[in-house]
């Protein structure tokens, strides 16, 4: 179960600004309001899960944080300052993300995949290789360092994608469906890794369909539906929230593997 403490559960009590602060975020695509006045925070060392049915706006939140979509109203702050809009600026601010669909360089080796983000933060080649090897070791990928990423089975590829996001030692980690397509053993291992990362002080925001994983690992859960935040709280609070059950067409959230209305994307 989660090791939630009262400090991490409610980031508002922290003295320093939250690692990520999304306030009043509104994003529209033409006539469609993808996000409507969305606000939440993620503190250092906190794990927040963003859940909601397909099309609720979860990926759009990630894209807005990364400056990939134009926001209509509202603000995203990272470490108390407005989020940089360039990729290099974000890396400099300690933000990294995994991509939906992994986005590995299939023909490059596992080590090279993990080295790519380090090339753009101007680390020297030898320290980069050391850092990359260290992260690969932590994720149990050392033996696969020289293997082309495209030849690996899916769970290993997923870990390579995670390693690539972790190698820049982020202060804010955005994970897009990290448990998707994984079996129980791999999900346990993933939960372990995410907890270790967050124990190191990193703020983690994750989008996930796998409810058991979310309830296990998250300190707080933000539920989106049609671009609105319909619930926000600890996993237990959210699990009991009637509005959440309704959003999932009456399927109790605690019932099973995936949330009712969703499909894997």
């Amino acid at each position: 179960m989660t090791t939630t403490t009262s400090e991490t559960a409610s980031s508002n009590t922290a003295d320093s600004p939250p690692r990520l602060e999304v306030s009043g975020l509104t994003v529209t695509f033409g006539g469609l309001t993808a996000l409507d006045d969305v606000s939440f925070t993620v503190a250092d060392g906190e794990i927040v899960a963003l859940i909601g049915p397909n099309g609720a706006g979860k990926t759009t939140v990630f894209n807005a944080v990364c400056g990939l979509v134009r926001t209509r109203r509202g603000e995203v702050r990272v470490g108390g300052v407005p989020a940089p809009s360039s990729t290099t600026g974000l890396l400099g601010a300690g933000v990294s993300r995994t991509l939906q669909g992994l986005g590995l360089f299939e023909h490059l080796t596992v080590l090279e995949n993990v080295l790519v983000p380090l090339t753009s933060v101007g680390a020297s080649t030898s320290t980069s290789v050391d850092t990359a090897q260290e992260v690969l070791g932590a994720l149990g990928l050392s033996a696969l360092a020289a293997v082309p990423a495209g030849t690996l089975p899916y769970p290993e590829r997923k870990r390579v994608a995670l390693a690539r996001a972790l190698v820049t030692r982020p202060r804010l980690l955005l994970l897009d469906e990290p448990a998707g397509g994984l079996g129980a053993t791999d999900i346990d291992q993933l939960a372990q890794t995410v907890r270790t990362v967050s124990d190191g002080g990193c703020a983690v925001l994750l989008v996930e369909h796998h409810v058991d994983f979310v309830m296990d690992v998250a300190d707080r859960v933000v539920v989106l539906d049609f671009g609105h935040v319909i619930a926000c709280g600890t996993p237990d609070e959210v699990r009991r929230d009637p509005a959440v059950e309704e959003a999932y067409l009456g399927v109790p959230v605690s019932a099973g593997g995936a949330l009712g209305r969703e499909e894997r994307s």
Partner: protein
Amino acid sequence: MERLVFLLSTGLARGAVLALFALSLVIVYRAARAVNFAQAAMAIVPVYVAFAVTAASGSYWFGLASALVVGALLGAVVERWLLRLVPQDNPLPGIIVAIGLVMVLQAGLAIAFGPDHRPVHAPFSQRPFEIAGVGVLSPYDLFVLVVAAVVMGALAILFNRTTIGLQLRAAAFAPETSRLLGVRVPRMVTLGWMLSIATAALAALLLVPTGLGLDPHAADVLFVNAFAAAVIGGLDSPVGALVAGLVVGVLASLVTGYASAATAPLAVLALLTVVLLVRPHGLFAAREARTA
């Protein structure tokens, strides 16, 4: 037997130049995701500059260095201020622009320097060494082989052992993902063009003394054969370009020696056809196509 040894060794030297030019096509293919049909014309412009620099300074080496520099600059200029303005969603506009560029460059050279062949002297003797009475490589052939090997080695180190090489490879195969990871993809594309045209210019510079001399079309046949070699090798594969370049060079030399010079292009075409029938993506093609 003597004839065979001579043809094989000459073929190897010609093949080294072919391999170098084919490698330049692979580099630009990786950067631009298209075959550069202006490669021959773009390669020959720096050779004219090298010719002028050598004539003015009396040094072959100044000429060689200027060919590399001008080749790199030309690559950057053409990519930044011409090809980047061309719509990228289908390959046709790029091909048409490349053909237009060929016409402009070759006509420009003919206007500036005249359309005639200019004799170009090799920096070393072209008379073959004799080993046990058998003519093998000339000193110039040896020079060509050494230069080609050094340049290929340097490119291999650059691409496989350096930070910039990793960014070049990442950007070539998955530009969108690379961008999200902070790689400056447009810069990598420009750099790919610079490396490619400098390499092509060097290959053309090495070729010219062995042919009829310098004229605006002096690299055209080299382009055709190197294109065949690059396709045989797999277009995406530097190793493929190297191996196929040498094979095509030796094949052309053997066919020229035992049959006739006119038959050589047919032999290359036959080899290309057979390879494409057996392996449509070339001999050394990557297992799967690049990701977007």
